[in-house]
Amino acid sequence: MARRNLTRNTLRTALAALGVLIGVFAIASLGLFGNILALSASAELGGIGNQLIITPNEDAGVTGLDIRDVDAVTRAVGTDGTAVPLLTTSGLLSASGGQTFGQVYGADNPAALFTAREGTIPDRHRQGAIVGGDVAETLDLRIGSAIEVESSRYRVIAILESEELLTPVNPNSAVILPEAAFAQRSYDQIVVQAQSGESASVIAERVRTQLNSREERVSVFELSSILETIDEFFSLLNQFLLGIAGISLVVAGVSIFNVMLMSTTERRQEIGVLRAVGVQKGDVLRVLLAEAVLLGVIGGLFGALFAGLAAIGLVFIAPIGFDVVLVASNAVYLFGAFVFGVIVCLLSGLYPAYKAATLRPVEALRG
């Protein structure tokens, strides 16, 4: 019955369903996009939440971290991660392929922080140079090539993976040498790679109590705090997007309200006939509400479907993986938008349906 009535005025029904479709699509897709954005951002940034950077507190006159500091940090880290003390400078890098300026790090145990694309990073870095991806490309370096760093020659033992991610120690245009290559003996920073975000903050706390008990000797920078800020930003963005989408569903609701109102006024006499031949108010109400819900279900299904397709399409046009699209929280957005659409339809159909059903049959029949 409800379906029949809807197919009668096909154009009007289609327009109303389109309204719902757009509303649900807007909610679902904006919600999805926001979620996907947040998910892929945290997938890209996820790793840095596990890192801590410990630097000398220059405000307190500390210019470098000595071996006692390194020992203290190593003890604080314990088995929850790895502390990598870094000596930092920059200099001229040259090879047969040309020359360039680059960052030069000194580290004996860089394996915890970096991954090699070619060659291997030894656990104990005693000799040879580990070069970043960009450096290798610019200077046309291979495993075994010679590289000259500030007039000392080294053999390339590993070439690092190009890191697109945001990392505190970006190795792309850097060279990592053994500590022995440096004259300086005080470290510029200690990077701690923890096993998880939680252990990172535990370690941070321990480092602070151990090294900063008498004076603020070091500053400990938790990268997870950036993540939190980013997360907050994304959830704000998401709420904003959903708000916009909500407005469009309200607009759709108004149009459904209008459609229902029009269709009940148009069918006043019919409803009068139904009432006259003994159909109860409640049954009329149910038929009209069923129409509204059917509209909502049809529009909502297509809206959610299109939003889902759009999200999948996103994978092909944007640097986003299927892994962040095909997750449960996205399905929640789709389903939520669908349910919301149906509810809006039901609510906006309620008043016109109630009004039509409670109209006195005599008046309805008069037309």
Partner: protein, 236 residues
């Protein structure tokens, strides 16, 4: 209750009228002005009787029909169907009583455009769970001469055919009374005759027919004609 009613009322054991109005008054209030649409109407219609109601425009004919059809309640007076006082029924009970005892035929047919003839006839039974009236509907349509038009929609039927579908619809619940407001008003004379023949047959089956009309022809088919002037019965 439904069962009991349908089982007892087609058999007229006593001499109680099919429907009876006792001193019915209906007044309308419009903007402080009171109109007596009906000013004390006494009327009794026997089972199987064909009654025509005529009268000038605004004399209260439709008002009378609405009260007879339990679509409206009188300001004072009583309505009795088969000796049962239905004046004080609730809205819901009145709807049920309407469904059980009364069939309606309207001037402009009022069929649902999206439904076939058979489905239109079934409309009064649409919300009865577990009841399929299709068989009876087809039987009724065949009876009114539309056995070959069962699956046609109203726009595929002529006015006379549509009105016959409406008559079949009015009969689907085996009513005791069929009420018709200007049943031939939108039909040409010949078609009017076929409809009135149909009403005649309905009466012969023991159902009372009450028709409001401006059409003189209707009165020639009726057993009795009453004239309503300013809410008062003048002849009958």
């Amino acid at each position: 209750m439904t069962q009991e009613q349908t089982q007892t009322h087609p058999v007229v054991e006593d001499n109680a009228p099919a429907i009876e109005l006792q001193d019915v008054v209906k007044t309308y209030n419009t903007g402080g002005e009171t109109i007596d649409a009906l000013a004390g109407v006494d009327l009794a219609i026997e089972a199987g009787e064909f009654l025509a109601i005529v009268g000038p425009s605004g004399s209260g004919k439709s008002t009378l029909l609405n009260i007879l059809g339990l679509l409206d309640v009188p300001t004072s007076g009583a309505v009795r169907i088969h000796d049962r006082d239905v004046t004080t029924l609730s809205e819901r009970e009145r709807t049920t009583a309407r469904k059980e005892s009364i069939g309606f035929v309207f001037q402009d047919f009022h069929l649902l455009p999206s439904l076939t003839a058979t489905e239109n006839v079934c409309v009064p039974t649409m919300f009865d769970t577990g009841r399929d009236a299709t068989g009876r509907a087809e039987q009724l349509l065949t009876r009114v001469g539309l056995g070959d038009r069962l699956t046609h929609t109203p726009d595929e039927l002529s006015g006379g055919q549509q009105q016959r579908v409406a008559i079949a619809r009015a009969l689907i619940n085996e009513p005791t009374i069929v009420l018709a407001d200007e049943p031939t008003g939108n039909l040409d004379q010949d078609t009017g005759h076929t409809i009135l023949d149909e009403f005649r047959r309905v009466c012969d089956a023991g159902v009372s027919v009450i028709a409001v009309t401006h059409d003189e022809v209707v009165t020639t088919y009726a057993d009795r004609t009453i004239e309503l002037i300013d809410g008062v019965i003048h002849r009958g």
